[in-house]
Amino acid sequence: MLRYAFKNAFRRKNIAALSIIGIAIGVSLMTAMASLSATITDQTNRFAQQNLDSITVQQKGQLVFTSQINLTKLYNITVLDHIDAYSAQVVTVVQLGTGFVNPQLVGLNVDNDTRIGGPTSNIIDGRVFKKDNECIISKMGAEFLNLKIGENLTLYTPDSKMVNLTITGLYETATIITQMNIYTTLNTARMFKPGFSNDTYSVLLIKADDPANVKQIKNEIERIAEEEELNIEVILFEDQLQTITQYTSTINILVISISLIAGIAGGMSIVVAMLMSVIERLKEYATLKATGWQNTDVIKDILYESLIVTAVGGAVGFGIGLLYLGVVSAIFNIVLNPLQPIVIVQIILFVVGMGLAGGVYPAYKASKVSPVEILRGV
């Protein structure tokens, strides 16, 4: 019977091809989305693992790049117990090229940044900047912007002064989140922050000696801030993590929704294809019933046909999805997470479900054919 179903599944090649394309699009999207979603989640988790000992101090109620803090006033904070290292940064947003890319320009002290394990401790090619007209960018950013070590980045200050920064090195961090930053000296960054004195920074990044101590440090900082009337707030990565997790959950929901819509669209294509096939072959099913096929035999046959077409579409879609991920990975030079076995099982179950769901109504319709109609005349 499977052989019979296989022969009939591709009887109308155009219809079968169209439904295979429909399913393939759905499954390829699901495959790609599943991998992207897994990558985002994994990146977040890795970022979280690396930063659980991080504390950010910035101006109350401001964003990182609008915050202003005075480091001298924060001296009592920097000498608290359980603080392993700290690095003050000047952060601004700059415009590159046509303005579609707006990375953050971060000014920092290399020694301090290296101590807190910042990007200057993760140089994979070239060297860290030493002069004010030098910078480092991420490997991914360099490929995205098509720039190499030794080439210049041209930026414009708020008063339209052109600043050329020579790329001296490429860094690589574990997460995409920090891959689009440009790091340079504090002096250079201050050129983009009018009103920033040598003692003014955007944020103070603190590294605790143990993630278990971050809450105690936070409490101490808040106590000092209250006593000394400092207009600052303390952000633990732990607190940010909740927000990031919410974002990634939203992204995952979006990804699942897109996958489901694509899958349903693919499922609809199999319904239409099978329905057309059944309507064309009603006399055939009536004849089969007249020769001894039960309703359940007819239903089984159509579900088999539906599953065969869906399986082919699913396999093609899975292949296209993997190809797409390979292309994305190559173009953007990002390592995407391989599909987990559970995700592959979920895709297979979805394809099987789609095949069964797509075949149910056509199968029901065919099973209700009355053989008497055939004998009534030609």
């Binding site: 019977m1 052989r3 019979y4 022969k7 009939n8 009887r11 006399k283 055939e284 004849t287 089969l288 019933k289 007249a290 020769t291 001894g292 096929w293 039960q294 309703n295 035999d297 089984k300 046959d301 053989p371 008497v372 055939i374 004998l375 009534r376 005349g377 030609v378």
Partner: protein, 234 residues
């Protein structure tokens, strides 16, 4: 037909069978109190004008349709009000249908077409051997792997006959089975039907418009307005 002293078993029996259709707003009485007894090995033709009820009668004795009233017995079983699932059992095991338009599956070879009735329960090597034997018996030894589109009308009808015989049913029902064939091919098909009756002992009931086809039967029935009006048997 039943005869005194006949020791053959009753294959089909219709008792006061009527069939009423609702066609739009009007009621059509397709069969009107039909009584018919068909014995094992009978060879019966049913003639009659269009709308006389012959196909309806064939459907009912073939377990494809239910009568509105009366009773129908097949191989001694009362099949009058059996559900579809049980009627299928009788169609599969007791009856072989041969249709005017053959109704072969275009994607399957002659051999696979013959095997379609038993496909749902799995085709065993013995089934395949039987199908090959039937095709050979019907002169299609060299057409086994041809698809219907590659066969002539007569060959297609012979494949359809082989399909009707695959489950070795005791009864063969034919509805205008030479209707789409030329005269010579029609005669060849009827020669086969004759042999099924004379050599294999199959009970044959054929519905036809063709007098030459009808005359081959041992029992010739005529129908008009849902009634059997002439019985030329015995």
């Amino acid at each position: 037909m039943e005869n005194s002293g006949d020791e053959r078993k009753i294959e089909i029996k219709c008792e006061n069978v009527s069939k009423v259709y609702k066609l739009g707003n009007s009621i059509v009485k397709a069969l009107d109190n039909v009584n018919l007894t068909i014995m094992s090995g009978d060879y019966i033709s049913i003639m009659g004008p269009s709308g006389s009820g012959k196909t309806t009668l064939l459907n009912i004795i073939g377990a494809l349709d239910h009568p509105t009233s009366g009773r129908v017995y097949l191989d001694g079983y009362d099949i009058t009000n059996l559900p579809e699932r049980k009627l299928t059992f009788f169609r599969r095991n007791k009856i072989g249908f041969v249709f005017q338009a053959f109704y072969l599956i275009p994607t399957l070879t002659a051999l696979d077409n013959v095997l379609t009735p038993i496909m749902p329960r799995g085709v065993k090597p013995a089934d395949k051997e039987r199908a090959l034997m039937l095709l050979e018996m019907l002169g299609l030894k060299n057409r086994v792997h041809h698809k219907p589109g590659e066969l002539s009308g007569g060959e297609r009808q012979r494949v359809a006959i082989a399909r009707a015989l695959i489950s070795d049913p005791p009864i063969i029902l034919g509805d205008e089975l030479t209707g789409e064939l030329d005269s010579k091919t029609g005669q060849e098909i009827m020669d086969i039907i004759d042999r099924l009756n004379s050599e294999l002992g199959k009970t044959i009931v054929i519905v036809t418009h063709d007098i030459k086809v009808a005359e081959r039967a041992k029992i010739k029935l005529r129908m008009r307005d849902g009634r059997i009006i002439e019985d030329t048997g015995f």
